[in-house]
């Protein structure tokens, strides 16, 4: 059930990349971090361990398909994954391509800024969507058997 005032229950101005009946992948508009994606569970759930096992597996399969697609398209030095929800306690994952010369490396992007950076280009939305779809198969209901 949607939670009143939760910005992830009633999304506005999201740049949608991919979705199925359970979750969606959006592009995060951060000029320092092209390719930064967020994977958001549609229902208002707070923690991963609030989900049944098959839904946990499905959500992680989408997170890791996004990771694989970003690695293939952007060749980052590292991928960072995080699920916090301290400010918005609605289950979502950050998937962030990182480079040694980016603004915060080797700190997390929530740490102290290390330098000015000259970020590259994010992949085209349609190309990223195509890769995620190819890795996951067609969007559909979670089966728990998605091959990552």
């Amino acid at each position: 059930m949607p939670a009143a005032s939760c910005p992830l229950c009633t999304p506005q101005d999201e740049t949608l990349i991919w979705q199925d009946e359970s979750c969606r992948v959006i592009q995060v508009d951060d000029p320092d971090y092209p390719g930064f994606c967020r994977v958001i569970w549609h229902d208002h759930v707070t923690e991963m361990s609030d989900l049944p096992s098959l839904e946990q597996q499905h959500l992680m399969s989408v997170v890791l398909a996004t990771e694989r697609a970003l690695r293939a398209l952007m060749k980052p030095d590292k991928i960072n994954l995080a699920s916090f929800g301290n400010q918005v306690p609605h289950l979502h994952w950050h998937v962030i391509p990182r480079y040694r010369e980016d603004a915060h490396f080797p700190e997390s992007i929530w740490g102290r800024r290390q330098r000015e950076s000259s970020p590259g280009q994010a992949p085209e939305r349609e190309i990223l969507a195509h890769w995620i779809t190819s890795i996951l198969g067609h969007p559909g209901k979670p089966t728990g058997g998605t091959v990552v």
Copy 2:
């Protein structure tokens, strides 16, 4: 194969909570964050998507069993999960119980400190180990079918 000079390949002074043939859960010594655990894949692998699907599922089942055990024992306001590896590119997950009055809330623990804090007690190591074992079943080889 262990990587030369990787501190997670050749662990020293770790406080081990639980392990099986694939990964281990250790207690992180951070006075601001009692209960902070790290789940470390034994082999020197960099990214989640470097693992086969069943091993990804097994690692996440251990991460989420740790989450469930910490929630049951510590009743945190939120759990934070993160896998960065920017400084040590050997696959590991941070599992952090968070409280509204902790040192950084609602920021990540890698963000700006918000206040002095008076952290509570970490659970006894043996009790946490017992909970993780109970949730996962007996330690053993990854099966991909572990119920979280």
